[in-house]
Symmetry: none
Subunit: 359 residues, 3 copies
């Protein structure tokens, strides 16, 4: 049953009584859902680039696209309800044992119904990938490739799918300086991408929200990508003085043609879920309100197909390209190592981190 | 007096009007005499040992040694004359004469307005491809590649375009058992797909209704695909313990990206005509009510373009990939030979056939 | 006293402001002195004998032998100084100074806001590409590849983007006859397409109106393509007895799948801007009424991204394919040389020109 107007008004009152500031991210979301529920899709002109606050609000509202008013109302009520009941945000250093089996700090991994599910679990960091998280994902993929499940799924906990490489990784500069950091990052990245290239079973992304950077570029190595209509796909490499990775310099032009791929990878155009689907990066888009239910119903059905046949069929499609993809990965990482030491990149990261420090 | 060129042409026309299939033995002899009469002694390299059809034709032609052209012409005329007057062919097949010119049992083939039209003609079997039909399609493609038409079209008679491989093919197990059956099926399939890879003129599918299995996967080798909005595209390989063929493991990811290709080829998602068109597998979709009229109007216009230019342009697009496609075809067939002997596959086919037996 | 770095840079800026074309002889000398001043003695391999433009430049540079860098700088400054004060260039071309800087007869080239804009300027000929225009586009691309702009844009002045190869080029038959004409056209075309394959910065097409023939096929080599909804995309090669060029026999099937590519390239289907966008040939379509405003706003924003990063990212996407594309280009040109001498082609061009003569 959908939330009534009364539920909606109750929720609005509850917001005023919240004991803790829910943070800007959540407040923007509440703002957006309120506008969508009362006025429908965003109908005001985009604020100027320097009008930061209004720009953020406009973005939040626009992101909801054509979400129906009653879905927005329902989501608003659900979000407020979750805020009122959530006790304390759990620090990522203190994992609750029931949620993080196998000793993962940054992931939750489960396996049932023939599906191994690897969930990014740094929601307060928008699931940005820390150095530790890179390593844990590699371990989890290794384990999933050897377990009995038919399918392996990656998804995010919280609002984001994954916001990409955690730029604070770059602040942890070793005694060898930037050059050594660039070199070790190169090796980590290459090994990480390699795990996706070589993964032997159907690998599926359930993109529950915005995806940024490497979490986008890797999608070309997945066998199916299901997205909520709330998801966006953004690879702002050039603004950061960086260049594409995850084999995207090869897979994206192959999937969508170079005229579309360049706009994403070189000019940093952000795609909606619908656009990403039209261009073949995403298999299918679902309304956010029914996303989880529809996707898992479908995946459970697929997981009942004969597991060995699935593996054979995936590999007849993929194995032919593996050598090529390994070469692409190596080449992209060499270029990135160079980029990371460029002025363009250092300036961009410095700016990003100093802006962040001021907030 | 020796047969004149005119007698020879009359005899060729008479062959097309034969009311009964003269059988493969006679057809091979006609082929050989025709080649000898027009080109002289066999002058082409011997086909590979597994290229059965071409091997048989090559053998027949070679057998004629240095028989002079005019003797060959005379023998051809005599042989046709004997066929036309012979009471009953020894073949056990009983084709209806009006529907099956040129002796095809499972096809109707016509040629007019610059278009050779190969029609699947097992409507009561949803145009499922029997072993005989595989062979006849190969013969029809060979003939079409050598005739004067500008375009070659494949389409289905009845409600279906084609329901794919006839699973009852698997019940005809030879003395060598499943292993031998898998081996011979491998060879048949590889030769069949090869005919599509090598076809030298624009090859067009007119998909009048549902398409299943290999009739779908082959579409990546066609130069244009027009579909009725009643058509669907379904490759339920995994449920049958099988893996993709027809070069689809290569062509589909190239056409639609791997996120869409995997859902079809590995998870067996059925596509509507509109979806198949959006994903580039289909050139254009037409309402069923006007489908035939619109498509043939367009094709007749295309067939008026200079035939040799069409052939050259097709080949500059396609020839670059032929070697790759041959390797893909070989690889897919090796995998399938293995799959056909797997438990997954045998269980699935057993289930299918026993369900069918109960009906 | 020797010319300082500052004098040198001033001289470079002065060159851009020259009101009259100094002629190819002088431009080659400027090129050579610039290279010598910045890179020292000629250090690149000698271009092939048919690569006329690069050969001329290489010759000019090589001629300077071991001239020291600072002498080259001084000579450059002196030469520019003499040009700025010289009354009239000796060139027989009579460009209108206000519209045609740098002496282009068929183009207008500007450079501001980080964008070099190469505009086709034969609006009364629907911007058909004459032999001279092929050469000027090559020169303009060469210059753009070396200037400081971040992006290079091609667009058309007037109603058309570009109507393709000017068929009257075929009427200028040299003493060697059609065979010699076909041979020289082959070389011109190959060099022309090569410039697009090798272009090192993001290359963008702003398709303001109908595009025909080679102006369409080249789009697969652009990094982004923005189109007015008035634009159409038409490659009527078969009707002219010709075959696809501009690497389209490779890029188009890659971008849109062969079922869509063949209909364009072989059957000459004309696409609307919307269709071309759905098929990945076009990045985005805008209403004609706001086209120029929206596109340039976007491009100016993109041009603010770090120029070197853009160049690196373009090349990681493109460089991997360059060798392949060069081979495709060579192959397409060989086929076309043959086509141009075919009856199909000669008849078609004769018809076209005689129809034109009657108008």
């Amino acid at each position: 049953m959908r939330a009534s107007q009364k539920d909606f008004e109750d929720a609005m009152n509850q917001v005023k009584l919240l004991k803790k500031d829910p943070g800007n991210e959540v407040k923007l979301k509440l703002y957006a859902l309120y506008k969508q529920a009362t006025e429908g899709p965003c109908n005001v002109p985009k604020p100027g680039v320097f009008d930061l606050v209004n720009k953020a609000k406009w973005d939040a509202w626009s992101t909801l696209g054509n979400l129906p008013k009653d879905s927005a109302r329902q989501n608003y009520v659900d979000l407020v309800s979750s805020l009122s009941s959530s006790p304390e945000p759990s620090s990522q250093v203190e994992p609750r044992a029931d949620e993080k089996p196998a000793g993962y700090e940054t992931l939750v991994v489960t396996s049932e119904d023939g599906i191994t599910k690897i969930m990014f679990n740094r929601p307060t960091k928008k699931n940005a990938i820390s150095t530790r998280m890179y390593e844990e994902i590699m371990l989890a993929l290794k384990a999933a490739s050897e377990d009995k499940s038919a399918l392996t799924v990656l998804t995010g906990i919280g609002d984001y799918y994954c916001s990409g490489n955690d730029l604070t990784n770059f602040t942890d500069i070793p005694p060898g300086g930037v050059e050594e950091k660039a070199k070790s990052s190169h090796i980590l990245l290459r090994n990480f991408v390699q795990c996706f290239i070589d993964f032997p079973k159907p690998l599926i992304a359930v993109v529950n929200g915005p995806a940024v950077g490497i979490s986008v570029t890797l999608l070309g190595l997945f066998d199916a990508v299901y997205a909520s209509d709330r998801a966006t796909f953004h690879t702002p490499f050039s603004a950061l003085g960086q260049s594409p990775e995850g084999c995207s310099s090869y897979t994206f032009p192959k999937i969508m043609g170079s005229a579309k791929a360049t706009e994403m990878l070189v000019f940093g155009k952000k795609l909606t879920a619908g656009e990403a689907c039209a261009q073949g990066l995403v298999t299918e888009v679902f309304p956010d309100s029914t996303f989880q239910r529809e996707v898992w119903t479908r995946l459970k059905a697929y997981a009942k197909l004969p597991a060995n046949t699935l593996r054979v069929s995936k590999n007849i499609i993929r194995s032919r390209e593996r050598e090529k993809l390994r070469a692409v990965n190596a080449e992209e990482c060499i270029t990135l190592e160079e980029r990371w030491q460029s002025e363009d990149c250092m300036n961009a990261i410095m700016n990003f981190l100093s802006r962040k420090a001021k907030l």
